[in-house]
């Protein structure tokens, strides 16, 4: 019985994580692709007009140098909060903490999960 419960719990956790990643992809499409690109490569439709180029989220080396907490902070509080460009906006009023966690999950998928 215990084993069944454990398996069910793991399955439920996995489903939540999967849903969060999907939500992350959806939020990324709405809020991030305009600058970071539909492929996450930093070449969005606004990039050509920017004095500082948006981060390439598919760059595993660059992205691995950032912790999840840093990614959360820069999304919530903007580029200035980590001494980066003001062109990275403050999204904390548009997105909930759960939304931002989902986005961080999506960033990890973009940078570091090769299909």
């Amino acid at each position: 019985m215990k084993k069944i419960l454990l398996a069910a719990s793991l399955l439920a956790m996995s489903a939540v994580t999967h849903a969060e990643v999907d939500r992350g992809a959806q939020l990324y499409n709405v809020y991030c692709t305009q600058c970071h690109g539909v492929q996450g490569n930093g070449k969005g439709i606004n990039a050509a007009h920017m004095s500082v180029q948006p981060r390439d989220h598919t760059d595993a080396k660059e992205m691995s140098a950032r912790t999840d907490d840093e990614l959360f902070k820069v999304i919530q509080q903007g580029g200035k909060s980590i001494n980066k460009s003001v062109l990275m906006p403050i999204w904390g009023s548009n997105l909930s903490d759960d939304d931002i966690h989902a986005l961080v999950g999506h960033l990890r998928k973009l940078c570091c999960q090769k299909n």
Binding site: L27, Q34, K43, I45, N46
Partner: protein, 228 residues
């Protein structure tokens, strides 16, 4: 049935068919505009997918947002305000230097005959669910040196990442702002810059950290470039 009727009206509009003047402006707006534009604020409650599927900017707070004269004039001779459409990620093509706007899928807004446009504008200006936000505004239009305003708009606040302050100058995902002063009410400009989420929870415009004074400086810059 109503939906089919709206779609039919939209198809007529898209084909550029002349529109018969409608005796009832409210019904006319509902019929001609409602297929693409939200006329009630109920888009604010569903999930974010609503933003992906949005066909046109909401008009439910048109009376708090637009300048009536601009609205009536624009309806008769519509021009593109959003270079990449209302949902930019849907209008992207991959180019050698990265993403580019794919203009082929951008719908053209139909032109409306003068009398009908005037009646529609009159009705749209009655839609004012956010009088409280407007009343809370303290903005009094002033001026700013254009050079200083441009630096503030670009370098200090990063607005030019998404918005153009002159034709072909600035980002393309947001509406162009060089005509903003003519089309938008000053109090709306200030209120929306200060807290866009209060107007539209699914807005793609971030709420920055600008205080009221800084917001007013940005609004003054839009006034300066809009009155040139």
């Amino acid at each position: 049935m109503k939906h089919l009727f709206s779609l039919g009206a939209a198809a007529m509009l898209a084909a550029g068919a002349p529109l018969a003047a409608h005796a009832d402006a409210a019904g006319d707006v509902q019929q001609q505009c409602g297929a693409c534009h939200a006329l009630k604020h109920d888009y604010a409650t569903p999930a974010i997918q609503e933003r992906v599927e949005r066909k046109a900017p909401p008009l439910d707070f048109a009376g708090n947002k637009f300048q009536r004269a601009w609205l009536a004039s624009w309806l008769q001779n519509p021009t593109r305000i959003r270079p990449a459409g209302v949902f930019p990620p849907a209008h992207v093509k991959n180019g050698p230097d990265g993403d580019a706007v794919d203009a082929t899928g951008l719908a053209k807004h139909p032109a409306v005959p003068a009398a009908q446009a005037e009646a529609m504008a009159d009705y749209l200006m009655t839609l004012k669910p956010f009088d409280d936000l407007i009343k809370a505004e303290t903005y009094q239009p002033g001026t700013i040196a254009e050079r200083m305003g441009k630096m503030n708009f670009g370098k200090f606040k990063g607005c030019d990442g998404c918005h153009q302050d002159a034709p072909n100058s600035g980002g393309v995902s947001g509406p162009e702002l060089y005509t903003a002063w003519k089309r938008l009410q000053p109090a709306f400009i200030s209120s929306y810059i200060g807290n866009p989420v209060a107007w539209d929870p699914h807005t793609m415009m971030p709420k920055g950290d600008a205080n009221a004074d800084a917001v007013h400086k940005l609004a003054n810059y839009l006034k300066v470039i809009g009155e040139k």
